[in-house]
């Protein structure tokens, strides 16, 4: 055993730590998995969850400085440290609420560093909870002390984490007293990152508001007011606008309809010059009869009784391309778009074009 030159009290605390270390290692995995499972259950997305058991050398350093304030190793609250790093500052509150429900929180010793700053000061921002694992969540007959040992849970944003890590490296732990001008610069950066964190939250709220507004416009049928993009098209697809035509086509052979992804049609629709969901709806109204006639011509003479939900949109696009004068190159471009570029798409385009001529769709 290494001798750190501690007094008797410090040496006894260190000995107690060594005995606790296997339980701490076990506890690290338990605490992490409890947190990770709950984060996943609540559909929260965080940057990282991590944990560490305090190294012996680091603890010895701490005991040398302030060992007298601890009666036993159980009073040292950071022997196990768990950290959750979030993308957004709003999520710090959500993780905190989650931790309050999961663990037994020692409020007296927990610290919200975010609230410790004066109006005119900036710096370390992080929420520290001192927790214990309740027996209802985990019990281990081999390590019964797991429910009694406190651990420190730090919750901070990615930007707070970057700042804290750099500050730790450049100031607090470098062993050299850092001149005040550099500390002032670090704190200025903390203020800037706090603003950035707030801004990210505002942007996220803005995007969520926009999505809700679009969903409401789609639900109200005000499609001409909604620009066609990835988000709005997804909302539109959730209304299943092509179902009626798909069912009509399926009824030709009493076919079953298998779901197929339609999101890949977005660039096709944009290439066709459609700029709003209203334009897509208009294409359905304008082209559905011819799209049905084409499907009827193709499938009506077969006994195929399975199609995918992409048939309606595919045929609508074919009709729209032909009406716009896109001809065979336009059809070939469509097939390249939905199934990748292939030499065979030219002959498919040729075949469809001939069918369209036969049906007088051109």
């Amino acid at each position: 055993m290494e001798d750190y030159g501690l007094d008797l009290h410090g040496t006894l605390l260190l000995e107690e730590y060594r005995k606790l270390r296997p339980a701490l290692m076990k506890m690290k995995g338990v605490a992490l998995s409890i947190i990770r499972e709950d984060i996943a259950d609540k559909n929260l997305y965080v940057t990282a969850t991590e944990a560490r058991v305090k190294e012996e050398q680091s603890l010895a350093g701490k005991l040398a400085l302030k060992g007298a304030k601890y009666a036993s190793a159980h009073d040292i609250t950071d022997l196990l440290g768990v950290r959750v790093i979030t993308f957004y500052s709003d999520d710090v509150e959500k993780i905190a609420a989650m931790a309050e429900n999961l663990f037994i929180i020692d409020r007296e010793n927990s610290v919200d560093k975010r609230k410790m700053h004066q109006l005119d000061s900036f710096g370390y921002n992080s929420l520290h909870y001192i927790c214990r694992i309740p027996r209802r969540l985990y019990q281990d007959s081999e390590f019964p002390e797991i429910n009694d040992i406190p651990f420190e849970l730090q919750i901070r944003t990615s930007l707070q984490h970057v700042w804290a890590t750099l500050y730790h490296d450049s100031g607090y732990k470098s062993g050299v007293e850092v001149p005040k001008e550099y500390l002032r610069q670090m704190n200025r950066l903390a203020g800037m990152l706090e603003l950035a964190d707030e801004q990210f939250c505002l942007i996220r709220s803005g995007i969520n508001d926009y999505r809700r507004r679009v969903q409401s416009l789609v639900a109200d049928g005000r499609l001409e007011e909604v620009a066609l993009d990835g988000d709005t098209f997804k909302s539109y697809l959730s209304m299943r606008p092509f179902d009626a035509l798909n069912h009509r086509i399926a009824s030709l052979n009493q076919a079953e309809i298998q779901e197929a992804p339609l999101q890949s049609y977005l660039p096709v629709l944009k290439d066709l010059g459609l700029t709003t969901l209203g334009d897509v709806q208009q294409m359905i109204y304008d082209c559905q009869e011819d799209a049905y006639r084409l499907a009827s011509y193709q499938l009506g003479v077969t006994d195929i009784d399975i199609i995918t939900s992409a048939v309606a949109l595919q045929n609508l696009c074919i009709i729209k391309i032909l009406r716009q004068g896109g001809g065979k190159p336009g059809l070939q471009a469509l097939f390249d778009q939905i199934n990748g570029h292939s030499g065979s798409n030219a002959s498919l385009a040729e075949m469809i074009y001939k069918q369209a001529e036969t049906l007088k769709l051109i």
Partner: protein, 102 residues
């Protein structure tokens, strides 16, 4: 209908020969079991000698696709004949499968 399955390093290659029609589909659905068992890999369906496909055959291919989607694999259809490509197009299956030329 003959189905030959070979297990390459990271991919299963399945070669179809003949007509994948309703009578052949019952046996085919049993023959392709190794593909479903290895649906976490890339599965290449070699259709060079596939002469015809019916709805039952399409359902077999769909079953392979669903299993690979569930297990994290991928299906690639290679060398399909013109007539079968047309069937894929008019049923909308063209939107479901990655089809590669020879």
């Amino acid at each position: 209908m003959e189905i030959t399955i070979t297990n390459n390093d990271n991919a299963m290659v399945c070669a179809f020969k003949g007509r994948l029609d309703t009578p052949a589909s019952l046996q085919a659905s049993k023959d392709i079991q190794p593909l479903l068992d290895n649906a976490d890999k890339e599965i290449i369906l070699d259709c060079t000698d596939l002469e015809y496909i019916s709805s039952s055959g399409l359902r077999i291919l769909l079953g392979i696709r669903k299993e690979t989607a569930r297990k994290g694999g991928k299906v690639i259809i290679k060398n399909i004949r013109e007539e079968i490509r047309q069937v894929f197009l008019m049923t909308g299956f063209y939107n479901l499968f990655e089809i590669q030329d020879a």
